[in-house]
């Protein structure tokens, strides 16, 4: 007879569940307004390196001191949890201004968590943003985000070790190593080094996370493959070109230092490091003139590299659009962009700051990466000339990156390339089919 009572309880529970769901889904809807341009502005940002945090905190303090109408309140969230935090916060609870990782923007637009910013930031600021910056922040012709900086990706190498091993290396985008040349360079260098290793791919970041997709999906595109094309992953991410690229990647693994201490290149255990711009300041200090900056290997269709980084948007329910826009204008001025890029070594994402930059401009040590960023494109329109490819601008990106990076990590530990990539393709296609292609 207990059964009847249980049945009663479950009716109550299901009703409660339905109510909970209903209340969950009523949030959001994109109702930002300009406000009167005064008062408090809530800002969320990821807690990056100490120097980056200091640059941001200084910018906020200086902005608050520079005028008396607007008071910016900054909240820092640890980097590892940042995107999850935004994902699991309902639109109503998001702050006025929030930092976003570039490729996640589309999914936040889809979930109605961010507002268009073109009516709140000044036209001057928008005009001054680099093409890549605007591309990253634009969806269906609407601007949702603008960044202070872009990102640079390539190889950082110890030129002295390469010379000592008799390995010749490329000095321009066009002369990038082919896959075979790269493999034989690794073989030679590993044989010369007591550690037995030749390459550092920052395995300590976790290949299964965003680093995996950012750093290694360019290999697919360089081979003529891609992550996704026309909302379809099957035959693309697991097509013969992509499989060939990942098989080459797998063949490098015996020469890869696990790099638990984040110091493989600096300590001389390897001669080459798969390298993001944020590593440049430390490498440059440790290696001095021996540090050489190279393009990633060319898998057949010309070298390709990653682009895009943290960018700034506004919460979809902000009532402080005007004040938030004024803060973003301030954040994107030359002084603050320079302070941030000095702190993290990134390429500036505004035209005026880029022109004044000494690292990435002609003659600077990172000139090559500056040239790479000059030849940028979106992932759905890759041309022969394009070098830096933005990660796909689709709301399905979280699934794409999770599946590709997981497959990459499995491939690194020896799993069959074709089956790992086909598994990823199936899961991505299911997700797109379920969600009406995230239109």
């Amino acid at each position: 007879m207990k059964h009847r009572k249980k049945a009663g309880a479950s009716v109550v529970a299901v009703t409660t569940a339905a109510l909970l769901l209903a209340s969950c889904s009523s949030g959001g809807g994109g109702t930002s307004s300009a406000g009167d341009g005064t008062g408090d502005v809530e800002v969320w940002a990821h807690q990056g390196k100490d120097t980056e945090v200091a640059a941001l905190q200084d910018a906020v303090a200086n902005f608050n001191a520079s005028q008396s109408d607007i008071n910016v309140k900054l909240t820092l969230v640890p980097e590892a949890d940042y995107t999850t935090t935004i994902q699991s916060t309902s639109a109503d609870d998001l702050p006025d201004v929030l930092e976003l990782d570039g490729p996640t923007l589309a999914s936040f637009v889809y979930d109605a968590k961010v507002a268009p910013i073109d009516s709140y930031v000044s036209q001057e600021t928008i005009d001054n943003a680099t093409v890549g910056n605007v591309n990253q922040g634009t969806l269906d012709g609407t601007l949702y985000a603008l960044a202070q900086f872009n990102s640079g990706l390539g190889l950082c190498a110890n030129g002295e070790m390469l010379d000592a091993a008799g390995v010749s290396y490329p000095d321009s985008i066009d002369s990038a190593w082919s896959a075979d040349e790269f493999l034989s360079a690794l073989e030679t260098l590993a044989a010369e080094n007591d550690s037995g290793y030749a390459l550092d791919i920052k395995e300590n970041y976790g290949l299964g996370g965003e680093w995996g997709t950012y750093a290694f999906s360019p290999l697919l595109q360089s081979a003529g493959g891609n992550l996704i094309a026309d909302n379809k992953a099957s035959g693309v991410i697991d097509g013969p070109e992509s499989v060939a690229a990942m098989e080459a990647f797998q063949s490098w693994m015996p020469y890869v230092d696990p790099d638990e201490d984040d110091a493989a290149l600096v300590e001389g255990r390897v001669a080459i490091s798969w390298c993001g711009h944020w590593l440049y300041p430390g490498y440059s200090e440790a290696l001095g003139d021996d540090l050489v900056i190279l393009p990633l290997p060319d898998m057949g269709d010309g070298t390709k590299s990653g682009a895009g980084s943290w960018t700034w948007g506004m919460g979809s329910t902000t009532k402080q659009g005007a004040a938030a826009g004024a803060f973003l204008d301030y954040l994107l001025n030359d002084e603050n962009v320079k302070a941030m890029t000095t702190a993290n070594g990134a390429p500036p994402a505004t035209e005026s700051a880029l022109a004044a930059d000494t690292l990435y401009s002609s003659g600077g040590p990172l000139e090559l990466w500056g040239q790479q960023l000059g030849a940028g494109c979106n992932a759905d329109s890759i041309t022969d000339d394009c070098v830096t490819v933005l990660r796909p601008l689709t709301a399905g990106y979280p699934v794409i990156t999770s599946e590709f990076a997981s497959a990459l990590a499995a491939i690194a530990t020896g799993d069959d390339v074709q089956s790992a990539l086909t598994g990823a393709a199936t899961a991505i296609d299911q997700s797109f089919a379920d969600n009406n292609d995230y239109e």
Partner: protein, 310 residues
């Protein structure tokens, strides 16, 4: 409902007399807690598992029937994760319980400074699993400088080169099992130690008078004496073993652990919902997993019943 035997208890249960009221009142907070935090979320999970629900999306979940389940059962990765879970449990439950019992008997002696040993064996339990995973990441590192590789190199006089303990599919899961036992065994040891100390000393004296040797004493005095404690420990270890997640997540995402060989069902569920926003799939995984764990627990309870205290 005309069965007369069913009528009488029902009528009795409806008429709450004064003696039952305090009991009901005292049980209410616990029952509300169970309903709010266990029963309702589980029913929501069942509901969501029949839908395509995206995490915190403004769109309402749409009904897709048993699609999530058919996909799950067709997914080799899911079966692999379940297999990993079962392998983990099948090794950890007997081995960890046996080691815990051995340690408990070791530290159940009247020696000077024995509490120091008890504290030492218990120490890993108070470390958070995240910390343990990070430490073991260094021990199991695949470079020559990895602690375990250095030890193997030293012991074998350099005959055995560095191994990729976490990356190699053959050693990845055993490595996780090893560190999990190291972290968890102290807890079971303390519970078993309490059980051992409950056994009256007279029983051992009587056994000695009967000329029982050490092994016979263990078999006929110690084991029956801690039977209930042992059953409790096995149940607890089983539940903890199926719940394995922290170390797997940390070592896969940042320790280069072989994902295929070490992923567990909970890892798949959290990846689905937090990395891919796929709440429906995650719900289906938890529902299936709940059914499996429930089934195993029920069978376990059937096989070994605790003796009620006299």
């Amino acid at each position: 409902m005309s069965n007369p035997t069913a009528e009488s208890p029902r009528r009795r249960s409806l008429r709450w007399n004064r003696r039952e009221l305090p009991g009901v009142a005292m049980a209410t907070p616990g029952i509300i807690g169970l309903l709010v935090f266990v029963a309702i979320p589980f029913l929501v999970a069942i509901f969501l598992s029949f839908h395509n629900a995206q995490l915190n999306s403004p769109r309402a979940p749409n009904y897709i029937g048993i699609t999530q389940y058919t996909r799950l059962f067709a997914d080799a990765q899911f079966w692999r994760a379940l297999g990993n879970n079962l392998t983990f449990a099948a090794v950890v439950i007997p081995v960890q319980t046996a080691i815990a019992l051995g340690l408990a008997m070791l530290v159940n002696q009247r020696l000077r400074g024995i509490s120091v040993f008890r504290a030492l064996f218990f120490l890993p339990v108070i470390f958070p699993m995240a910390l343990v995973a990070v430490i073991w990441r260094l021990i199991l590192a695949r470079s020559e400088g990895g602690l375990l590789n250095s030890l193997v190199h030293f012991v074998t006089f350099g005959q055995v080169g560095p191994q990729d303990w976490l990356g190699n599919s053959a050693t990845a899961l055993p490595s996780i099992i090893l560190l999990s036992i190291w972290q968890g065994v102290g807890f079971q040891m303390i519970i078993l130690l309490a059980g051992l100390q409950e056994i009256p000393q007279e029983r051992y004296e009587a056994a000695q008078l009967d000329r029982a040797n050490r092994w016979q004493q263990f078999l006929y005095v110690t084991l029956p004496g801690i039977r209930n404690t042992l059953i409790f420990v096995v149940l607890l270890t089983s539940i903890l073993a199926f719940r394995v997640y922290d170390q797997v997540y940390i070592l896969i995402t940042s320790g280069g652990a072989n994902r295929t060989a070490t992923q567990t069902v909970l890892y798949q569920a959290t990846t689905s919902v937090f990395d891919q926003n796929n709440l429906g799939r995650a719900s289906a995984i938890t529902v299936v997993f709940f059914a499996i764990v429930l089934g195993i627990t029920v069978i376990q309870r059937r096989l070994v019943r605790q003796e009620s205290e006299a």
